[in-house]
Amino acid sequence: MSDCHGCSVATLPPPAILSRRHIVAIVGPPNSGKSTLFNRLTGLRQKVANFPGVTVEHRMGKVKVEGGREVFAIDLPGVYSLEPRTEDERVTHDVLLGQMKDLPKPDAVLLILDSTNLARHLVLAAPVLSLGLPTLVILNMADDLKSRGGGVDVAELSMQLGSPVALVSASRGDGFDKVFQFLAGATHTAPRAAPLMQLPVIQDIPKCRAWAANVGSKGKYQAPAPPHWTRRLDAVFLHPVLGPLIFIVVVIALFQSIFFWAKPVMDLVQTAITSLGAWVGSLIPNPTLHSLVVDGVFNGVGSVVVFLPQILLLFLFIGILEDSGYLARAALIADRTMARFGLQGKSFIPLLSAYACAVPAIMATRTIENKRDRIATILIAPFMTCSARLPVYTLMIAAFIPDRRLLGVFLGMRAGVLLGLYILGFLAAIFTARLLKSTVLKSKRSSFMLEMPPYRWPTFRSLGLRLIDRSKVFLRRAGTVILAVAIIIWVLAHLPVHNGQPPEIGQSVVGMIGHAVEPAIKPLGFNWKIGIGLITSLAAREVIVGTLGTIYGIEDPSAKSAGLQQALQQDLTLGGAVALMVFFAFAMQCMSTVAVVKRETGGWRWPIIQFAYMTGMAYVCAFLVNKAITLWF
């Protein structure tokens, strides 16, 4: 490392302080394969730092390089230029210039560009190279470039740019030696020469583009043939009739599979948890401790963990739609409908990802340039049915909705009700959007520009990493919040102690709290136990399932083998059950979402309005539904 004092642009300078790790920023235009590269480099040694409490909003991970050293990689939002106009671009801009709080200026940059569209992507090289940081220019999609008959002279391009260049395929892992060499600071390429091509004035886009074209042609860049497969697939997916039809079929298939494919795995998990609980319980002689572990912890946490397979299946589907490039087409198809509610197609992508979780969805609204559109999208995102609602819905549906066929073999009644709940959330969202856009957030129709990425096969690697990441988040929550709530509920259910005997659950502290709130929720058809669940679910929606698991487990320990479903069937009316689902469809029962809305809108005003509005709507609608069902049946 010492022999290259200022000699190689490709070498990382030795760390100023030995303890500090090098930071490498990954920069690139949208759809250039940044995340694939990041996953390839870091593997499982990464975290999505996107939950409140964790301050950084981008993905960070460790890369192991030669000699056992570690380098920190940061995955920055995709940008076309370094002009900070959207929030996304501001994050990238600030990180690269060392203006991001709590994050030192990166030591080096990995600039990733799509080699199949190099002439245009090279435009971003001008501002990035002019930062003066050691930069490796990575030309991604090498396999695509080759198979479509394109090519580039890497050595020549490197001379032109004055920076090392690597031609890789991030999805297949080809050509990564050079990337790791760069990260290890081991490439002793040509001595630092000024780039042969003078960098252009970066504010002038036409000049930058001409510069890029010039660099490309000097680097003997041969543009590949157009992506025929993408054109062919678009002829189907964007067909005026087939396109929307396919979209509907995809959505229905998703809901059917959530019930049918996840069921055997869920049964397996259920059996495993029950037998594990019985086994652990048999090891504990003390009856009080036994009850805490079996009734409190295993019933409480276990009843939530069971839903992990379903949530993973949902994330798998959304991941496939996103990675394959179909989501951009869906946004295109949806744009006109979205425009009718005062929003734009770009809002569609955050809204669709809100079906997984509202927190990353709200952060994804940063790509929307129009401030009012962005706030409107943030405010309606929690109405989309997030995966935390799934445990509540599935529990209630399995307990109260008969397993009948609705549309022949295509759609069962249970899947139909689930689909209905998803549509209900969507309707509430567009109603709210309309309301907001015609009153407080009125703005003129904003422009919609969306690049259509070529279709690509989703890789097992990136899908797998998504699922592992999601499982971690889910299990962490089950192991912390839900575990804590389960223990607190169990303790409160056993207080106050009379003559060394725990009270009847209705007389316990939990019972007293429950009975205190019961008058407020009785009109909705809920009993006091649901009331406790509603209180605990303010932390996160799925906590109610854990809470009910604990409460019913304590109340009747013999019933735990029969399960929570049967207990609910005996304790709740159909009206109350449906009202509970409607309540969860609308209410904003999620502290993480409140926190992220506060951060993204920059104050308490919007989260408070949102919380009050959603809870009010939930209460009124649950009341009406309960009354209607009680009258009819």
Binding site: A119, P206, A210, D335, E451
Partner: protein
């Protein structure tokens, strides 16, 4: 335009013959051939009506399927114009319309190696070079 003049029945027969002859990569080939035939037929039909070059469309919205035009200027606010230029809509570049959402709005436009969807009102503000100046429309200085 090998398949341009043939009817549906001939198309089918041809497809079957090709499928029978082709033993490898059966599924992929079948679909490939089908699309190529479709596109060839479509293109032939369009070419009867308009020439493939710029036919006097004043802006992107007026470009018909199969036509292309050279962008002259962006009649839009600074911010939107910059963003579009970053996406490839630079004066001097050729633009070809592609597929669209049901109803024709928004539409995908091919420009500078990528495909970008634009709403109707934006496409209308992207002004094309008039036909007669096509000769001096050298590609981007």
């Amino acid at each position: 335009m090998v398949y341009s003049g043939i009817g549906v029945r001939d198309q089918l027969q041809l497809a079957i013959e090709i499928m029978v002859l082709q033993e490898f990569d059966f599924a992929a080939f079948q679909l490939d051939t089908w699309f190529e035939m479709q596109m060839a037929v479509k293109k032939a039909r369009q070419e009867k009506h308009h020439s493939p070059a710029n036919t006097g469309a004043a802006n992107l919205m007026e470009l018909k399927h199969g036509e292309s035009g050279i962008l002259d200027r962006l009649d839009l606010p600074e911010d939107d114009a910059r963003r579009l230029m970053e996406l490839g809509f630079l004066p001097g570049h050729a633009i070809t319309p592609g597929h669209s959402a049901p109803g024709g709005d928004p539409r995908v436009f091919r420009v500078d190696g990528s495909e970008v969807a634009l709403r109707r009102e934006t496409a209308r503000r992207l002004i094309l070079r008039p036909e007669n100046s096509n000769n001096n429309a050298a590609k981007e200085s």
